[in-house]
């Protein structure tokens, strides 16, 4: 008899999530119908290949291949980022063309552009996007700022969800101003005074916010419908998505979009204890976010973009004190629930690789950008599966021969014993299509395990 989730070991949970990934459902919740028996076979082979690479117990049949771009599929299909953000069908078409043409074992889905109309409805301030501060042919831009002030750590630590709803969200969404007036519903305990708590919902700014939310929710649903159909379509054709969703390192949660880079760095000096406490407070939330998504989607892999712990950003001491402890806790929390964390070591992480190798084997999947790949193999590569390292500049200005040589070299360096997946190292927008083909072809050509 199948065990209950709570009774399973982390290994069993991981197996259960892999099994769900292997048995996809359509958007209505029924077993997905594949395009053909061949597609079904390809889908299962691809996941088995990726699973073997991740678990590091046995060799895959060949080195798996990921292609993990940013806006490349949009440009490749000849549409603009603006079209991709506003016309969900065009977006689907572009990302499908990308997957079908390059046939990666793993792809990132069609989520990168996101729903432009939705951002418009809520007046999203955190990003500028095509038609809203950015020309139609460019990708969106993050507007870094102090969306949380230096004096607000206590509010965040005290009640993170209240801080997000009542303080942070009204700052990053122009239309969520009404949230500032939201009552703490934990005050509703007895009949006495109950109604008083609900007064804000009668006030015009709050009602306006809810109106915007209804509209935004409907648009989000529409977009998600398109994405769900895309996922089903691409899965039916035999192509798995690499990840179910994402979570973040607590240092990056605060350093990217709450306090910002400047803010968090000054806090490291002026109020280090508050910063450390806030990161601890966010840790269980980041674990829940990852575990929740993995279980909802039925897919073990959760992406964690790593930003401000890269080489140069922090000294070794600062990294060990501020960045790694809570990131490690997040990863261990995910692993305990059978989830496979997929940190992307963006840029250079050479000085961190050894420190981050302190993890159980066969539980993680690392995207390596420009770190020395031989070193990565000798450090985190001992415990986790690596992918990436084909450089962006090579994909843009190199020749297919150069790309092939690069990939061959990567396979020689990393593929021995398993635990390596050929892939680009950074989320690229531009590339010569023939170079992307060369990367995929080279992996097929040189990647067989005999």
């Amino acid at each position: 008899m199948a065990k209950k989730w709570e009774e399973m070991t982390p290994d069993e949970k991981q197996e259960a999530l892999f099994a769900r990934w292997m048995a996809p459902k359509d958007p209505a919740g029924n077993d997905l119908k594949y395009q053909s028996p061949k597609a079904e076979k390809a889908f299962k082979e691809r996941i088995t290949r990726i699973k073997d690479a991740i678990q590091m117990k046995k060799l895959p049949d060949r080195v798996p291949i990921f292609v993990a771009p940013s806006f490349f599929p949009v440009y490749y299909a000849g549409i603009t980022p603006q079209e991709a953000m506003y016309d969900y069908d065009k977006c689907r078409m572009a990302f499908k063309k990308f997957v079908v043409d390059f046939e990666p074992d793993g792809n990132l889905g069609a989520y990168v552009p996101g729903p432009g109309k939705f951002f418009e409805i809520l007046d999203y301030k955190l990003y500028s996007w095509p038609g809203h501060g950015v020309p139609p042919e460019q990708s969106y831009q993050c507007n870094e700022s102090e969306y949380m002030t230096a004096g607000e750590y206590d509010a965040l630590i005290d009640d993170p969800s209240n801080f997000f709803s009542n303080t942070y969200l009204p700052r990053v969404f122009g239309k969520l101003g009404g949230f500032q007036m939201l009552p703490a519903l934990t005050g509703i305990l007895e009949i006495y005074g109950v109604a008083i708590n609900f007064i804000p919902f009668g006030l015009p700014p709050v009602q306006a916010t809810y109106k915007a939310l209804f509209e935004a929710g409907a648009e989000a649903l529409k977009w998600m419908g398109a994405m769900g159909a895309w996922n089903a379509d691409i899965t039916a054709a035999g192509f798995p998505l690499i990840a179910a969703g994402f979570t973040k390192a607590p240092f990056d949660v605060i350093g990217d979009t709450l306090r910002g880079t400047r803010g968090i760095m000054v806090d490291m000096y002026r109020q280090p204890d508050k910063l450390l406490e806030a990161m601890e407070r966010l840790t269980p939330l980041m674990i829940k976010m990852g575990v929740g998504t993995a279980k909802l989607v039925g897919h073990p892999v959760i992406f964690i973009p790593l930003h401000k712990g890269a080489d140069g950003f922090l000294s070794d001491e600062q990294f060990k004190k501020f960045y790694w402890p809570t990131l490690k806790k997040v990863m261990m929390g995910l692993i305990a629930e059978g989830v496979v964390p997929m940190p992307a070591a963006e840029g250079h992480w050479d000085s961190r690789l050894a420190i981050m190798s302190d993890l159980p084997k066969g539980k993680t999947l690392w995207m390596i950008d420009q770190s020395n790949i031989a070193n990565a193999k000798k450090t985190i590569g001992k415990v986790g599966c690596l992918f990436g390292n084909v450089p962006s500049d090579l994909l843009v200005v190199g020749t297919p021969e150069q790309v092939k040589d690069y990939v061959k070299n990567l396979i020689d360096t990393c593929a021995k014993g398993g635990g390596y997946i050929v892939s680009n190292g950074a989320f690229f927008d531009q590339a010569k299509p023939e170079n992307v083909h060369a990367m995929v072809d080279a992996a097929r050509e040189y990647g067989a395990y005999k």
Binding site: S70, F71, V134, P135, Q138, S139, Q141, C142, N143, E144, T261, R262, M265, V266, M268, Y269, R270, G312, F313, L314, S315, Q318, G347, Q370, P391, S392, D393, L394, L395, V396, V397, G398, A426, F428, D429, Q430, A431
Partner: protein
């Protein structure tokens, strides 16, 4: 006698540094001398960053302390600051890209190395670089960019400078996480700096050679 401002600031002791400035201002000292000490401290900070002793948070924090000091000193300042001797440099993140952390460090390091830096910010259209070159006469331009889209934007910026007939009047350096020698060739820039220290070295070389 107050403690050494240059040293306290370079060692990032904020409270002490600010206290010293207050004391010296109260004693009626020439604000320019205080700023002089402060800029010597920033030079030290820059050196420590070059040698790998300091990291980005240290630079950012030193900048914050300097800001507080400037705020104290400014009201007492007659007018104008110390003249810059290193020459003029224009720096900006190219169109379509908003990554500014690397660019800010380049600006910081050029500044503490004595250059007069025009920081054009992020997502800077090619024509803004051209206008600034015309207006300031700066002989050195630094383009920063991290996205693959920035490769094209850099190329277009170099082209726009050429089209404006200014290409032989300026040296152009580029930089940013994903920039390499190959990309330098692709964009038509003169050189690339793998970090801010390399940027300063290039700027020194180019301004000295003139």
């Amino acid at each position: 006698m107050a403690k050494d401002l240059s040293k306290t600031l370079a060692d990032l002791k904020e409270d002490e540094a600010v206290a010293i400035v207050r004391e010296r201002l109260n004693a009626g000292e020439d604000p320019l001398r205080i700023l002089d000490d402060a800029s010597r401290a920033m030079e030290t900070v820059g050196k420590r960053f070059s040698s790998g002793e300091y990291f980005i948070p240290d630079l950012v924090y030193s900048g914050e302390i300097l800001k507080s000091i400037n705020e104290l000193v400014k009201p007492k300042l007659a007018k104008g600051g110390a003249a810059r001797k290193g020459g003029k440099v224009i720096v900006g993140t190219v169109a379509g890209d908003i990554h500014d952390i690397g660019k800010d460090i380049v600006v910081f390091m050029l500044d503490v190395s004595g250059f007069e830096v025009y920081d054009l910010g992020v997502d800077v259209p090619a024509k803004k670089f051209v206008e600034k070159i015309k207006e300031s006469g700066a002989p050195i331009v630094g383009l920063s960019g991290f996205l693959t889209l920035a490769y094209d934007a850099m190329k277009q910026t170099v082209q726009a400078i050429k089209d404006a007939g200014l290409r032989d009047k300026v040296k152009i350096m580029i930089g940013g996480g994903q920039i390499t020698d190959e990309i330098t060739k692709f964009t038509g820039a003169d050189a690339y700096g793998k970090d801010a220290v390399a940027g300063v070295t290039l700027a020194r070389k180019w301004s000295g050679a003139k």
